[in-house]
């Protein structure tokens, strides 16, 4: 027998920081896999496997019932909410971004603090304000704007106001962050090169704030698509959005396959819009967070 000399080959991989981080990431990855990815996968699977395998649920959504209309309404409301949030948040963010010290901290506290009150409570508050004999209607009648109390609840207006109220911080925070990172020398350069205040805003300030606009828009739009409580409380009965539809199908009609299919379509629309937006705006949403 040949006695081979034993050679010890050290195969230990050199330590890298990346491996340390990979270990740290294991637990959250497992958590997400079990409690998020798996249930999501089951939703998608149920939509094509039940009640019988095939795309029956999807053809039903496409060609019958109120599904398509409700999905379109959802997109419309989300777009309006995003637009209104941007219009309100932009000037506020531009002012806040110029603040320093105590005033900046106060402003940030106000914005972040508004997140501490739950959306349910705030939506109920709007219900009370908007009801037939509520403060808003009283004011409208007293001011002579309306002859008699008008219906505000169950309209798109009520839903949009309620959602903007809750989602505004998600537009403000990325906007402020990106505006604070604008190099003041670029604005000075714009001025000395001949840009008057309006052209300076359009030609320099606004393009430089775009990362924040993109991040805020994506955050607010995607959050709006899945909003449930506020549209349910302020629009319930007459005005319906996708999340309400899913809840209704699952809890009232117990039609879990259809609920799953609607949820899958909503997920697909969200993903497609997110990717398309990233391509068009050529931005990585995470960039504004760096």
């Amino acid at each position: 027998m040949d006695a081979q000399p034993s050679v010890i080959i050290r195969t230990a991989r050199p330590w890298t920081q990346g491996r340390g981080y990979a270990l740290l990431a294991a637990v959250p990855c497992l958590f997400l896999a079990v409690l998020f990815v798996w249930p999501l996968l089951r939703v998608v699977l149920r939509s094509v496997l039940e009640p019988r395998p095939g795309i029956g649920n999807y053809t039903k959504i496409m060609f019958s019932g109120p599904y398509v209309a409700i999905l379109l309404n959802t997109l419309e409301v989300a777009a309006i909410v995003t637009g209104v949030c941007l219009l309100i948040a932009y000037p506020v963010a531009a002012l806040t971004a110029r603040m320093n010290g105590l005033r900046l901290r106060l402003m940030t506290a106000l914005i972040v603090g508004s997140l501490w009150t739950s959306a349910v409570i705030r939506s109920y508050a709007w219900m009370i304000l908007f009801q037939r004999y509520g403060i808003v209607n009283d004011a409208l009648v007293a001011l002579g704007i309306a002859d008699a109390p008008v219906r505000i609840l169950q309209t798109t207006t009520a839903v949009v106001i309620g959602m903007v109220h809750i989602l505004l911080p998600f537009m403000l925070l990325p906007l402020i962050a990106s505006m604070r990172r604008i190099d003041p020398n670029l604005l000075r350069a714009g001025r000395i090169l001949g840009a008057n205040p309006v052209r300076l805003f359009l030609g320099v300030y606004f393009p430089l704030s775009l990362p924040g606009v993109h991040a805020g828009t994506v955050l607010v739009f995607i959050s709006s698509l899945g909003f449930f409580i506020t549209p349910a409380l302020l629009g319930g009965g007459r005005m319906m959005m996708a999340a309400m539809l899913i809840e209704q199908q699952a809890n009232i009609y117990l039609d879990w396959p259809i609920a799953s299919a609607v949820a899958t379509v909503l997920l697909a629309i969200t993903l497609v819009l997110y990717i398309a937006y990233g391509r068009i705006a050529r931005v990585d949403v995470t960039r504004s967070l760096r």
Partner: protein, 356 residues
Amino acid sequence: MTRGASLEFDRVSKTYGAVTALQPTSMTVRPGEFFALLGPSGSGKSTLLGTIAGFVAPSGGCVLVDGADITAMPPHRRNIGMVFQNYALFPYLTVAQNIAFPLKMRRLPKSEIAARVDRALEMVRLGGFGPRMPAQLSGGQQQRVALARAAVYDPPLLLMDEPLGALDKNLREEMQEELRQFHRNVGATILYVTHDQQEAASMADRIAIMNHGKAEQVGAPHEVYERPGNSFVARFLGEANMFRLRRGWPDGPGRLRCETEESLNLLACGATSAALACVRPEDIVIGPAPTGRENCFAGRVTDLVQVAGSVRYRVAVAPGCTLIVRASAERRAVVLAKDDAVHVGWDAADMRFLSE
């Protein structure tokens, strides 16, 4: 070629609350001149520049360009060019769009904008770089784009705020050459802010030395170097061996004999009541034998550093008095070493009197 504008500061000052950034400053920059504001950070040079651009509202006084008071004019109407230290190129625009920006603001026809942008790119030797993004360019190239952008609308006055500050040493020297060439080409008056005395001295026609919010001295680089008005100017512009004078008395026609704090006896030209005198390191002769100059001292080498083309010695000549001596390569026939006993000397005419 543009005709350079004249620039005049008339008692311009700036205070922030209790802090004085700029004391009332008056000076005149001639048309077509390359004028440098030289000083350490916080000396008020950038504040002064800001008052011309319109970014800093002076607390008092006024700024005149070609005799017209521009103090109240907003920056975009001043028609002044400016180059920033960090280039300040718009990152979302291409090189060509950056250069076109000031022309678009002036609503020039498209065809003329294109022609002018091309010419500006050629001038800074970046022909063909138009479609690139600024981030794809090196620091030196970006600075040249910034130059082209500042000059493309032919402003009669160009402000430069430490434009080479972010570049490494070799590139900086190359760019100095290029900036001088650029100045000859465009003919505009250039006001150049820097803290680098070598940079200011090699490029500017005249310099103003700034310190503590005021201009200490204004003049051509060699004038200011050879006849510094006070100790700050002498130290800031090159090196200087400084002597504090205790008393002085006439010694022959036009000669003054002085006694320094270290009890050295020095011979200088002229008569003065100044408290300080100085001699430049390169005016001192060093050797193993007595030098035969009017001021001659024996000493010991405590330290020496070889720098390109010369050697910089520290020579202790008296307790508490160490002189810096710079010997050029040709004078270094005899190589001196640390701890060598040496003689140093200089002429009375090389002594300069300074105020505090």
